[in-house]
Amino acid sequence: MKHTVALRVNGKSYEHEVSPRLLLVHHLRETLGLTGTHIGCDTSQCGACTIVMNGLSVKSCTILAVQAEGAEILTVEGLAVNGVLHPLQQGFWEKHGLQCGFCTPGMLMAAYNLLNRNPNPSEDEIRHGLEGNLCRCTGYHNIVAAIRWAAEEMRTGAFAAAR
């Protein structure tokens, strides 16, 4: 028994027939071919699957595709605009905020939401804000630095100027 799911991802509209038990993360990765969002666990701990859905960061492994009917979704593939990196992406590059890169898309989307809610977070607020995203490579030190760099850039730099 199939359901129709219509949603928008990174500004593009999609409509597909899906199995009711299809996870949103599989729909993004397998149906839509957006493999930037990763699967790291099976208990909703790791956050590698984090996307932004209807303005909130969510774990796409714990949402059924059918629950995303009508949703506005942003994934890591939608962060850069016209080839210009989002300050968070730039910050992760500048500050060596990634090593293997597997947690990185989820981290970026969680950080995106964090900075939307709190544009000037302290180190503690960043660390607390990332408690839903595990990284095994970096020890988080440079991830925190990257997010602080991005926050500063978004408040005061070229990104802010362009807005």
Partner: protein, 787 residues
């Protein structure tokens, strides 16, 4: 021809990052081939059971299921997975490990059957339809119980559940030292079992082309050439030149992606059978059950010393849990990489080590970041603190008193049969760390705090470690059934762009950047003119891969050999074009120039074009600018340093807060400081994880109680501090650039620094025996018990 600052030594932004921050990295599960079938594994729910029958008929009948296979189907056309690193010099019992169990399941997670279906949802549905009749047997998970009389026996081939009994050192000397000692300190340490937890789980995708007879396997590998050789020559009996293994983007490994796994064998075997691609990706829960775990030593340690703090003897007996079967390198880790390293940074004249490798009904154990050296470093660093406590001495001074002095290098620990420590200078690192934390002030704060019930603790760890693995001859004598050289192939193309292929296999370490820095400097080109290629066995010389912090020390050596060979040809071409003798020119700043006349030269780009056009080459010279090299290191490398951890323990909750973490490390000269710091950050995080948060726990029936991320505490961002890193620089006399290797030292150093800090916070309460992980419950209970 303008001189530019060398790239080596600079924190060049990573070339890997643009694709990874855009979500364009192609990891195993991102790779799609048409007509791929998905495999799911039925795993034993019992820790120990005879397999009486398997009925796959209902599973095979489920729409969308392509096939179901069991161990019986595979056993005549797939050999057991080999063990390639035995404990050298002693008999090893080597029971077979089949990809799918045939007679018995020996751990929860042991593969029983494989379902192949049109998609992974159907494949998992079909697992529930397979009916297996088991005769459940008693299980044993504890090493001491497994070695006891009457214990359940896992393998006929291993009576008493023993793989091997291995020794190192001089027992007579050690016994004499203990008999004559002023002071003897004894301790039992459980270096607990850990789960590696790379954020990407493991997987494999196999494609067999019946037309060419070629098998291509993509897999999450730290060493694709090793996987290719083991699969082709040892397990599947396929011609080596018909097998290609590709490591795509790999999302972390920490050792767990070194080994040959049943699922790699299974998808390859099934792909050959079905002649369509077959993909397997493990869930995280499967990763916990059936991907190799780390550590799990039960150690009895004794230190003999004089009253002035000089250590005169060290005796170690360790039972190393190997799990239900032998992993690819299982017995080698607790012997060569642990037993020979127990004396650490100290000159100890009498040492005796005994190690037993023991089978239990648990997941297989093998290398995990540090591989034997964390187990050795924790042991000796904990004992130095316990000795200091016993003697009423400052732990920094006890260390200083026993350090191998700087004029003693190359240094071989007494009777341990180790390749010599290449270089070291331990006191400056200790002093720098003490100065960075303002040690004397901290001790004052600690004393003051104790008057008000504040539990502040300071923990030291002055470590050495062995990496840059390794001279092949020495490793083979240790029981390693392979060489340990590294390879490179460097090619200069017609337009002056460079492709450098390495046998190293980056899975987060940034080799595409650091090797490019090295190669670019050698020829005087930009870092973006160099492409580092790794991971695909096709067309690449055999390489041994990335583990044991060897990629720079050994992979870099091979890279430099190739660049040097090419430079010789560039000099010959340049001299010919300049119409001078090769002795009169040199290669520098991207050109061949007449010595003493740098304005008169031939630039790299012109030389590359000449090598391609051929017509202006010296008579008899072939076209092309390329070289293949292999580098077998003459020794290992020995990074060292001192880490200091400052903690505060909450007496009401037992929670440990890390107030400061200072790491002073010496890895020799550093190619990319930002990347090296990153390796230390991540390494320290894992070491803190072992000290305070992590531990894989089995119940007596062999059920993994910490079976998911809900129960196994991988540290989160708000569990960890920021890290203060500093360096001393003591080059290795033999390695490329004098560099030593940095990937594991953070993990090796940090666990004892943290545990020593907590013990230091509690020692005035009479608490000295603390076993990891030091969870709030563990610490709180110890405080209560001491009241």
């Amino acid at each position: 021809m303008v001189a530019t600052a060398p790239l080596v030594g600079q924190s060049v932004r990573r070339k890997e990052d643009p694709r990874l921050i855009a979500g364009q990295g192609r990891y195993l599960d991102d790779i799609h081939l048409p007509n791929t079938a998905h495999a799911a594994l039925l795993r034993s729910p019992h820790g120990h059971a005879r397999i009486l029958s398997i009925d796959t008929s209902k599973a095979r009948a489920l729409p969308g299921v392509v096939a179901v296979y069991t161990g019986s189907d595979m056993k005549d056309t797939a050999n057991p997975l080999p063990c390639a690193f035995t404990a050298g010099g002693v008999p090893n019992n080597l029971p077979p490990h089949r990809a799918l169990a045939v007679d018995k399941a020996r751990y929860v997670g042991d593969g029983i059957a494989v379902v192949v279906a049109e998609d992974e949802y159907i494949a998992h549905d079909a697992l529930d339809l397979i009916e297996v009749e088991y005769e459940v047997l008693p299980a044993v998970v504890d090493v001491e119980k497994a070695r006891a009389e009457g214990a359940p026996q896992l393998h006929e081939e291993a009576p008493g559940n023993l793989c091997m009994h291995w020794t190192a050192g001089n027992q007579e000397k050690a016994d004499a030292a203990f008999a004559a000692a002023d002071v003897v300190v004894k301790h039992r340490i459980h270096n607990q079992r850990l789960i590696a937890n790379p954020m990407e789980t493991r997987g494999a995708l196999a494609n067999y082309d019946p037309g060419t007879g070629e098998l291509t396997l993509w897999c999450t590998s730290q060493n694709p050439h090793i996987h290719k050789l083991l699969l082709a020559a040892f397990v599947l009996g396929m011609p080596e030149h018909k097998v290609r293994v590709i490591a795509p983007e790999v999302g972390g490994g920490f050792g767990s992606k070194i080994f040959l796994y049943p699922d790699m064998v299974i998808v390859s075997w099934v792909a050959r059978h079905l002649c369509r691609p077959v993909k397997f990706v493990e869930t995280r829960s499967e990763n916990y059950l059936a991907t190799q775990q780390g550590r799990d030593h039960t150690q009895y340690v004794e230190v003999a010393a004089q009253r002035d703090g000089k250590v005169t003897g060290l005796r170690v007996r360790s039972l190393a849990n190997l799990g239900a079967y032998l992993s690819t390198a299982g017995p080698g880790v607790p012997t060569t990489l642990f037993g020979r390293l127990v004396s650490g940074a100290y000159r100890i004249p009498a040492i005796w080590v005994e190690v037993e490798g023991v089978f239990t009904n648990t997941a297989l154990v093998d290398a995990y970041r540090g591989a034997g050296r964390p187990e050795a470093t924790f042991l000796i660093e904990r004992m130095m603190d316990l000795l200091a406590l016993e003697l009423g001495m400052d732990p920094a001074e006890v260390r200083r008193k026993n350090f191998i002095p700087p004029d003693a290098f190359p240094y071989s620990p007494a009777d341990l049969g180790l390749v010599p420590y290449d270089s070291g200078n331990y006191e400056p690192a200790l002093d720098k760390a003490l100065q960075l934390v303002d040690y004397r002030e901290l001790r004052k704060q600690q004393d003051e705090g104790r008057k008000h019930g504040r539990l502040l603790g300071i923990g030291l760890s002055s470590y050495i470690e062995i990496c840059g693995l390794a001279p092949s001859a020495w490793m083979q004598a240790q029981g390693w059934g392979a060489p340990l050289f590294e390879s490179s192939q460097v090619r200069i193309l017609a337009t002056g762009k460079i492709i450098a292929t390495t046998g190293s296999s980056s899975h987060g370490q940034g080799h595409e950047t650091t090797f490019a820095q090295i190669v670019a400097d050698q020829f005087g080109v930009g870092v973006d003119d160099v492409e580092i290629v790794h991971g695909d066995t096709q067309g690449a010389p055999f390489g041994l891969g990335t583990y044991g912090s060897r990629s720079l020390a050994v992979g870099g050596g091979a890279m430099l050999r190739s660049t040097e060979k090419i430079k010789q040809k560039l000099i010959a071409i340049g001299a010919h074009l300049l119409e001078v003798s090769p002795e009169d020119v040199e290669y520098a700043d991207g050109a061949v120039s007449v010595k003493g006349a740098p304005g008169r030269g031939k630039a790299f780009g012109d030389l590359a074009m000449a090598a391609w056009l051929v017509s202006s080459l010296p008579p008899g010279m072939e076209a092309g600018l390329e070289a293949i090299s292999y580098y077998d290191p003459p020794d290992c490398t020995f990074p060292f340093g001192t880490h200091i951890c400052v903690v505060e323990v909450d007496p009401d909750t037992g929670k440990v807060k890390i107030l400061r973490y200072v790491a002073v490390d010496d890895v020799g000269p550093v190619i990319n400081p930002m990347i090296v710091d990153g390796q230390f950050h991540g390494g320290i995080a894992q070491g803190i994880g072992q000290a305070l948060f992590e531990g894989a726990v089995y119940d007596d029936d062999g059920q993994l109680k910490t079976g998911s991320m809900m129960d196994y505490a991988v540290p989160k961002a708000d569990d960890l501090p920021s890290y203060e890193t500093a360096r001393t620089v003591t080059p290795s006399p033999h390695s490329p650039f004098g560099a030593k290797g940095a990937g594991e030292a953070g993990t090796i150093a940090s666990t004892p620094a943290v545990v020593n800090a907590v013990a230091d916070a509690l020692s005035h309460l009479g608490i000295h025996d603390l076993q990891m992980p030091l969870t709030p419950q563990c610490v709180w209970s110890a405080i209560q018990a001491a009241k």
